[in-house]
């Protein structure tokens, strides 16, 4: 008889429903309620996906580093921190990819080109590749502890790229525009409902991240348990052989 285990709990189900509602409202707000930009027209609506995506990616990679730091510094070496780090990085990679694709399409419509090798775009592409490498390093084999240790070190180094990506528009002359809401002079550069829609995008994408993270971490725990069961079964077989 096979048993099935779900990664859902009543709390995550509620979070899932709330996320679905929040994302639905974002779609309505982004496509219908918010006005066009005076220069970009409807193209500006790309912003409501592009900016929240990179925000979630920063959040995810930051959390990966935080969980890795907790794993390394905590004597108990609890693997839950490693699994949260891995799950968070996977979601981060997904959202950087979304940000790169939407940014490229937005760039074609506003700049007139899909891609330029400017500091912001290049550093974001580099961030994406770094975390693909991180995910590959997690799958290099060995014990769970070996996996956790080597990926924690890599995560703590990789997170240093985030300030470089974010401040690249201030450090270099770039085609990419400077920050509109995280401006160093703290001057908001978005008209009323555009700002609200962008803020709503950040909230709903963060909720989506939380929902995905919980489920992915639980799935990883189940995967590790399956791997452990395989090992237990092999040891049991050897014990049986030895007893004969």
């Amino acid at each position: 008889m096979t048993t099935t285990q779900s990664t859902a709990t009543p709390t995550t189900q509620k979070l899932g429903i709330a996320t679905a509602i929040a994302v639905s409202f974002l779609v309505l707000s982004g496509l219908i309620f918010s006005a066009e930009d005076v220069v970009q027209g409807s193209t500006v609506r790309m912003m409501y996906v592009h900016v929240p995506s990179i925000w979630v990616a920063y959040l995810a990679f930051g959390l990966t580093a935080l969980c890795s730091a907790v794993y390394v510094s905590n004597r108990s070496r609890s693997l839950i921190w490693d699994r949260f780090a891995g799950a968070s990085a996977e979601i981060g990679v997904l959202f950087v990819a979304i940000s790169l694709v939407t940014g490229s399409l937005w760039g074609r419509l506003t700049w007139g080109t899909f891609w330029v090798w400017d500091a912001r775009l290049t550093s974001t592409a580099f961030l994406f590749i770094t975390y693909i490498g991180y995910l590959a390093v997690r799958r290099l084999g060995g014990t769970f502890t070996q996996r956790a240790r080597r990926s924690a070190i890599m995560a703590l180094l990789a997170v240093l790229e985030i300030p470089l990506v974010h401040f690249s528009v201030n450090l270099w002359r770039t085609l990419h525009q400077k920050a509109s809401i995280a401006d160093p002079n703290a001057k908001v550069q978005l008209d009323g409902f555009m700002l609200f829609t962008l803020f709503w995008g950040l909230v709903s994408f963060s909720m989506l991240f939380a929902w995905l993270l919980i489920h992915r971490q639980r799935l990883m725990a189940l995967e590790d348990a399956v791997q452990d069961q395989g090992l237990d079964r092999a040891i049991q077989e050897r014990r049986t052989e030895a007893g004969r």
Binding site: D37, V39, V116, F126, L175, Q189
Partner: protein
């Protein structure tokens, strides 16, 4: 109890194990190569100096007929498009530069918008073969403008002063 690893006899399991072992190593190698390509592309593109209009002919790297990138704002009423050639003036810190480009720049190109032009200065005119529109970080709702600006001049209504 004998704990020495047992050889996998099943051919399919052996192939699966091999794939499982090699796939992450290949991805790590590909990531390293891709990272190298990205950095080298960035450095190659950085060979063309990035100059503001006021630096052309003044700043080191922005002088002579070498290939450069020039950044400035398209001057209002300077845009002309005739026989597939786009001509306009760029301004930055009160210095202007006449630009000539074969074709339609694309994007949201219009007067009063910041652009980056790639090319070289020939007889005082910037001969460009690539134009990139540099959108500002200001977003203004269309219906909030005091007058109904046409698409072509919408950026002019955003200029300070």
């Amino acid at each position: 109890m004998d704990l020495t690893p047992r050889p996998v006899t099943d051919a399919e399991s052996r192939a699966q194990n091999r794939r499982r072992r090699w796939a992450p190593m290949i991805i790590v190698a590909l990531a390293l190569v891709a990272g190298g390509v990205v950095v080298s592309q960035f450095l190659t593109s950085a060979i063309d100096y990035y100059c503001n209009v006021d630096e052309v002919g003044v700043r080191d790297g922005c002088v002579g007929q070498r290939r450069i990138r020039v950044q400035g704002i398209v001057v209002e009423n300077s845009l002309k498009q005739t026989n597939g050639v786009t001509e306009f003036s760029l301004v930055f810190q009160d210095k202007t530069l006449r630009v000539q480009y074969q074709g339609d720049p694309g994007g949201v190109f219009q007067e009063c918008i910041p652009v980056v032009a790639h090319g070289r200065v020939v007889d005082g005119v910037f001969d460009s073969d690539r134009i990139e529109v540099k959108h500002t970080n200001q977003y203004v709702e269309k219906n909030k403008t005091r007058f109904e600006a046409t698409k072509e001049t919408a950026a002019c209504s955003q200029l300070p002063g």
